[in-house]
Amino acid sequence: MLMLRLTKYESAGRIVKMEVVGSIVRGKHGQIQIRQKSDADIELGDLLVVDQDDGGYSILQVYDLGYGSQISPKSLEMVSGMKVEGFAADLDFMDPTLRNYILAEVKAILNVKAGNARVPKTLPKFMRDVRHITESDLSFVTKPDNPMFLGNVRSGSKVLDVEAFLDGKKVFTHHVLIPATTGRGKSNLVKVMVWSILDNFNLGILILDPHDEYYGRHGKGLKDHPSSKQNLLYYTPKQFTGSFTPIFNLRLVKPWHFRGIVAFTDAQTEAMTVAQNNYHDDWLIAIAKGRDLPHVDPKTLAVLQRKIETTLGLYVDEDGNIQCRMQTFSDTIGESTLNDILNALESGKKVIIDTSMFTDQVELLVGSIVMHEILYRYRGFKQEGVLEEKPVVSIIVEEAPRVLSAEALTSGSNIYSDIAREGRKFQIGLTAITQLTSIIPRTVLANMNTKVILGNELAPEREAIINSAAQDLKEDDRAIASLDVGEAIVSSNFTKFAVPVQIPLFEDFIKRFNDTKPKVKIGFVG
């Protein structure tokens, strides 16, 4: 017969009774075993609590589950055989709930006392009762400055009524990695994150959007935010009222914007320098039009011209004018585009560039142009001593290994790796989204101080993530593998522990901000 066992703890001055789910039976620091109570339900990733005598408590996290039994394996196999072979269908052990049970492997992640949470340096009391966590156990979790919402704290698959925020300014300055395989909710996460900071002017975010999914051209998206009109700029080559056209004047493109994005030989790089020295801002136009470059081998110039034309989609029409197949570059218009984007970011606005019609190289080049120039401006602000007054600027890049993998970096660094390495000195951050963490060098991963880990079934990828996490996650391999869609573990230098969260579905999340205004007849003068 089952007995309901309750444990008592104090919450907000009240004694609360909670059902016991198990008891600590053995283990060592970081590897504690709990015998699960027979009618209790403990899941991988569950947060459990052990109350201490001094009014404090320890929070434990389940990272593995296994069977335990007081009966020898041979006897177990015999009884099992008799049952399944039909010799004695109702055969059972005496006091089965006492003799067979589940053992949960847990690690202590926090000791909490009087609202202060610390990393545990002691073991919870042996044979002590364990209960599920409640919202009040996480009352020390407070809303930081520049709150960026990530989801609700989760215990296993149970979602708690505790919202998880990070300080966007700190997090973005120190770079973010979002590792996950396809379909685990990366873009949903980014939309929720950016939505929650859309009206925070301390955070300027540039999103390179290769799938045109963040703005919400065809469904719900960041455009539906109440402040989107003021704080969100959407650049798309597709006709859409209110959007901006991502067209960059060729005179704004500098040779160094190509560094690490397009591979040039030394001779070609020199030719580019010669072009710039001779034609100044018109250097690209000069190359595209095949103008003479002193001391440059005509063959080198011809190859360079073809490479530039192919990369940027340029050609010279029958009237001798430069045209761009992708309409992304122009020698006549788009002079203010870069300035507009930089000003928006510098004002803490969010800028989405729909790169779905761009080639990979053009997408990365556009990001490179913007980030080179923002870095240049921010270096200036640092020199002037006004950097701290400026918002943090972060660029969100999908398929980050294109610019951060060891292979991509063999030919030298690029602006994205520069930002990962030294951007934080200038309040410039990188938010890298990737399916393949393992091919990003550890030196780069080590600089990504916040990782929002979504489900990943690939063991080498999990290993790379765990090895570079801010907290010790070596026991969390299974927990990461078992993360369902929308579930994540947030490992950050700015959290006291690796926080399991449930990211809400964007469409549900934004319902709480429903700001449907009645149609107002517009007053017209003019």
Binding site: Q230, Q239, T241, T245, I333, S336, K519, K521, I522
Partner: protein
């Protein structure tokens, strides 16, 4: 084949100096005379005909006479307001002239709930269908662009012209990068010609999905920056466009040059006040000032002496003696070491005011302890472009001076009423 002229940004009445005022008017008259000579069927003026909404009446009289002369030749004039000659509070002279039948305002709008439907005007002579949106100070016309019923505009067939007075982000030159603007996507697609005003540089671009988007720029210029650009080679004038009833066929830019502008820069960095003065005097001997406008910009930080120690009057007098039509020495960017923080680019008073107000408004933070509803209203009205515009309007109202014979109490009451109106607080009266 039909033909029209496209002018913009005449800014009549922009200059205080009589000579510059006269040259500006001369450029305007010349543009209209040349339009007649080019046998245009009609003329489009894309806003900012006048520099202010109620200009000097003597100037208005001259313009009325010129327009009447054009109208008597059977040439129709189509126009929108610009950001300068429009006022939300009082009747503009443009309204009066339009009511008198001197030209047609092409903004025929109907507000239907949350959107705006524009009605085309059909030019009797050519069948061209013309429609437009006026400019408003601080690009407040953005909300009208947002609310435009694009479909009704696209569905109209024939040769269509869209007249507007707004900078377009994708087309504005780098030198006007800080200018408020609207994205290209706000323009209704499918027109044959987009007759733009507001950008003081010449732009002619055939944009995919649209058509020709053109800005002729000012005929003379309204600021010293404009005149500097002229001196640097920016051509001033207007477009003459030929069309066959369906497509733009050919076009040409007709240059208006009423006076040559000579622009010189002098770097005073590290020099003493006396050295700068000497350089300026030397410069006067090298300038062919006769019949020309002379602009000199002096910049840098003096190593010793004060800006006031330099005898600019003597330099100016020398150039006038040499026959200069007008001399302006811009020394705003010239400072002494003790006053390096007071540096402002030499722009018009209005531009400087706007820049300073922008700075102040951008540093304004809504108190986060206020109720969310109040925060929202404050953010909407006091931040960003709307905040700057409100501040600018307030400044304009508070700068008012008593009218002749106006009693003090009446004056105070008038300013109060205007202020409440700007703040949209009339109900508190």
């Amino acid at each position: 084949m039909f033909r029209f002229a496209h002018l913009a940004d005449c800014h009549l009445g922009a200059w205080r100096d009589a000579k510059l005022k006269e040259l500006n008017l001369e450029a305007f008259n010349r543009a209209l005379d040349l339009s007649v000579k080019e046998k245009v069927n009609f003329i489009i003026i894309s806003g900012d005909l006048f520099h202010v909404n109620i200009p000097d009446l003597g100037l208005v009289k001259t313009v009325v006479e010129k327009f009447r002369e054009i109208r008597e030749k059977g040439i129709e004039i189509y126009m929108v307001y610009g950001s300068h000659d429009y006022s939300p509070n009082v009747v503009s002279i443009v309204d009066i002239l339009s009511s008198a039948g001197l030209f047609k305002k092409v903004v025929q709008a109907e507000a239907i709930e949350d959107h705006i439907r524009l009605q085309f005007l059909c030019d009797d002579d050519t069948g061209a269908k013309i429609v437009g949106l006026s400019g408003r100070s601080g690009s407040l016309e953005k909300e009208y662009f947002e609310a435009l019923d694009i479909n009704s505009l696209q569905d109209e067939d024939g040769f269509k012209i869209f007249v507007f007075h707004s900078a377009v982000n994708e087309l504005k030159p780098i030198s006007t990068a800080s200018m408020e603007s609207v994205p290209l996507s706000y323009l209704p697609p499918g027109f044959n010609y987009y007759a733009g005003g507001h950008i003081h540089k010449r732009v002619w671009e055939n944009v995919k999905g649209y058509g020709v988007i053109a800005y002729p720029g000012p005929l003379f210029g309204a600021t010293f920056t404009d005149l500097e650009d002229t001196a640097r080679g920016e051509r001033r004038g207007f477009y003459v466009v030929d069309f066959d009833g369906e497509l733009v066929k050919t076009s040409k830019f007709i240059e208006i040059m009423v006076s040559e502008v000579i622009y010189k820069e002098l770097d005073g960095e590290g020099k003493t006040a006396k050295q700068v003065e000497k350089h300026l005097l030397d410069l006067t001997t090298k300038i062919d000032a006769s019949g020309n406008i002379v602009l000199i910009r002096v910049r840098g930080t003096l190593s010793s002496g004060r800006v006031g120690d330099i005898d600019f009057t003597q330099v100016r007098d020398l150039l006038v003696e040499k026959g200069a039509t007008y001399v302006f020495i811009n020394r705003v960017a010239l400072t002494t070491e003790a006053a390096t923080s007071v540096t402002l680019p030499g722009e018009s008073v209005e531009e400087i005011e706007r820049r300073l107000l922008n700075e102040v408004v951008s540093s304004f933070k809504v108190d986060s302890t206020l109720p969310p509803r109040v925060q929202k209203v404050l953010k909407e009205r006091l931040t960003e472009q709307k905040g700057t515009e409100l501040a600018r309007q307030l400044l304009s109202v508070l700068k008012a001076e008593p009218l002749q014979d106006e009693k003090k109490r009446e004056f105070e009451n008038r300013v109060l009423q205007e202020t409440l109106k700007v703040l949209k607080l009339e109900e508190l009266e």
